[in-house]
Structure formats: C-alpha cells, structure tokens
Symmetry: C2
Subunit: 245 residues, 2 copies
C-alpha cells in the first residue's frame, strides 16, 4: 500500500506533470486532483504541456482521478496530512516530513489508507481545507524564503517514502595533523604524473589515453589523500622519472 | 560554512532558476555554474526566464559564479560529491543523500570546503566529470523511472541540509480492536452535529459560522477517533438533541 497524493485546486498543468514525474521517480503512483483550474479532461494544448513536464510519467497521470470537491476526494481515506507552513491559528500537530513518513509507514502496515494534501500554487490550503486533516507536515525551510514550488513539496514527501526503504553505511577517515588535499593540489600532482608517464612512453595507444587517465585518477582519488601524501607522491614520481643510475 | 552547489553544463535557464529557488528554500546560497549552454551574462530574454523560475531567489543567482571549465570551478574545494545514478564502470563509494549530508556536516565542521556536482539535463555527468569526485550520491529511486529533474535532484540534497538541523517527536496511538474512522464516517458525524447545533440556535452570528465549524472539527480531529467512538458520539448528539424530559 502507498499513500495517496492529493493536489487541491492545482493551477498549472505543468506542475501536475512535474508532480507526476517526482512521484514516479520515488515509486508513488496514486494521484488525485481536486477541482483543477483547467477543465478536465484537458484540451490538447494543456494535455501536451502537462505531458512534456511529466517527462514520461504518463502512467501516473492516466491513472489519476479527478474530484469536484475535497470532501468527495477523501471519503475512503483514514488519516490525512497536509503539507503547509506551520499554521498560526489552528491547534494541529506539526511533523517533519521524515517523522510523518515513518508514522505513515506504520499506519499503512496496519491497513490504513493515507492521503497527503498539497494546496494551490498561489494561495496554499485554506483553513477550511485544513479542517479535514489530522496533522500538518512542515518542510524544514529557510524562514526568510519558505514557499516551495508545488512539485518540489511533493518530491520531499516522495523522497522520504523512497528513502526510508533503503539502508547504507557511513564511513569516516581520520586525517590527524594533516588535512585533505585541495583539488588544485591534486590536479597539480595528476599533471605531474601524467606528464612523466607520457614522457616515458606509458600511453602506447593514444586513443586509450583518456580512459587510462580517468582510471588512474579514480584509483588515486579513492585514497582521499592528505596534502602531505600529495607532496610525498610528487617525490615518488620525480624519483621514478629520473634516469636509473 | 555551507556546501557549494555546482551545475555542470546546465542547458535550461529555467532549471538554473528553479535550482536557485530550491537552494534558497533550504538555506543554501553558494551556486557555481560550469560552462552553461546559454552565454553568460544572459541576454534579457533568458535572464527573464531564469528569474521567473527563481520566484524571488534572485540573490542566489546574483552571487553565482560562472566558470569555463570544471577544473577551474573546483580548485579551492577539498571534497566533491556527484549526484548521479550508480555508475557501472567506476569504483567509487556510493552514498545516500542522507548519509552524504551527515558526512558533509562533519567535514564542514572540520573546516573543509565541499562541492556537490550535478550534470546536464539530457546526458548527466560524464566519466571525465566523475573522475574528479571522491564519492557518488545516488538518490533512492524507482529503478524503472530514476531520472530526476535537475532542480529536483538539487532539492533532495538541499532538503537533507535543512532537515538535519531540525528535530521533532513521533507519536503513536493504539486502536486495539477497533480501527480509525474513515473520512466519510467523520463527515457524516460532523453533518449530524452541525445540523443539530443549527437547529438548536447555536450559531447566533451567521458570519461566524464557518470559522466556528472549523474550530469544532479541529477539536474533534485531534482526537483521532475510532469508528466505534464516532458511533458513540452520534448517540451523544442524538441524545442531547432530544427535548429534555
């Protein structure tokens, strides 16, 4: 089971298309449109603009359902979350996207049907819209510039959906008294190494040189060299490049 | 200190604008452009298209620096991450956005300068581009539809930046043998309640009725009622609405 994405009175068909793309990128496929501004089904011009923005996520749009009112769109759902700025005049629980999605996964596992509401581009959700939802999701944001594009807001939730299915492993590296080399220091070393290799006839097949250079650099980059190590390796190359006694 | 966002050979000025918006939404302000397709500084037409897409994030664009090559854009940075699909023919560490950003916060705290590379819309980063980065960030995605819009990919990293500065608290509620009420069941109850209140002259000032109804619903919604509780409260309203003996 997946949560349902509900766009409430969306204004721009491009944003409906980019929303579908963001959803499908993260494996979400259930979209409901509530009273979209442009009449549905769309005319050919609007349909073409929407599909261009969707970049291939047509299946989500073809399966989307359209409802004339919010009340009709939510009748079968058990719990609703609204993505909006922290409301000033309503007493509602406010969650981060991360915690909301963790909770939603539990609710879905328990058999609930869940909906996420997103408001119109210009005005956002009204207090009347918000009166049907249990909880508010507020995306962490720059307080001085906190209004997200509609599809960007959907992506944050969709990303949390996808992200919470995946695990990975962090890693660290202790540099001690030295520090990581800068790109300029590394590039200087690569230039030195490749110049000497060239001079020593290492690149016997000219057309293979670019990929050989890439492979050399990749092998060294994985070492995450310190500034000290770069200096050491300059010495190595210089030494090797000297004529043998 | 903040990580630097580098757009490598971006093709569409609209995507540069939406990238700036996504960055500023999450408090990131350092943008570098490497060999953008449209000549820089932009002509008036392209400039207008970029600013429209930025929706007010002009400050990020005004401070952005433009470089003719990737090598020149990264010289002062210590560690680079590239956002791209998992590479098939390169041995590089691959991290989730979440773990990458946690690591980046440590590196920034240690005084490093960090860059995130994003490739051109159509083709993505080349192996030559990737040969300068230490690590790959792969956004968790639907394997059947994994190509993100450029600004959407930037947003995921920017969101992780902002998100990891914020804490919050989860919550649970044990429904036991019953289940949460559906929206249709709740709406039916609200209709019942409000009809009876209307009949009993509760709404003395008609223009205040919509906000009073919202407040009533909000108060009840916070209770996250079960289906059983809704039935009980129908009984409560019915009982109260009867004429007193």
């Amino acid at each position: 089971m997946q949560p349902v994405i509900l766009l409430v009175r969306p204004q721009l068909v491009e944003n409906i298309g980019t929303t579908a793309r963001a959803m499908l990128n993260c494996g979400l496929e259930q979209l409901r449109l509530v009273a979209p501004r442009d009449p549905w089904p769309l005319d050919n011009t609007h349909q073409a603009r929407m599909l261009a923005a969707a970049s291939g996520a047509d299946a989500v749009l073809e399966q989307a359902s359209v409802f004339p009112s919010l009340a009709e769109a939510i009748g079968d759902l058990h719990t609703l979350y609204a993505a909006t700025a922290r409301p000033r005049d309503m007493l509602k629980p406010v969650l981060t996207p991360r915690l909301a999605m963790a909770e939603v996964r539990q609710r879905l596992a328990a058999g609930e049907k869940i909906g996420f509401l997103f408001g119109p581009e210009r005005t956002g959700l009204t207090n009347d819209d918000l009166s049907v939802v249990e909880k508010i999701i507020t995306i962490p944001a720059n307080p001085a510039f906190s209004s997200f594009n509609l599809a960007q807001a959907v992506l944050v939730l969709a990303y949390e959906w996808c992200s919470q299915q995946q695990e990975a492993h962090p890693e660290t590296l202790a540099y001690g008294k030295t520090r990581p080399a800068t790109k300029a220091e590394l590039q200087h070393f690569f230039d030195h190494l490749e110049r000497e290799l060239e001079g020593h006839g290492f690149f016997t097949t000219p057309e293979l040189k670019p990929s050989m250079v890439q492979n050399l650099r990749n092998a060294l980059l994985r070492g995450q060299w310190s500034e000290q190590e770069v200096r050491t390796w300059h010495g190595v190359v210089t030494a090797l490049a000297r004529n043998a006694r």
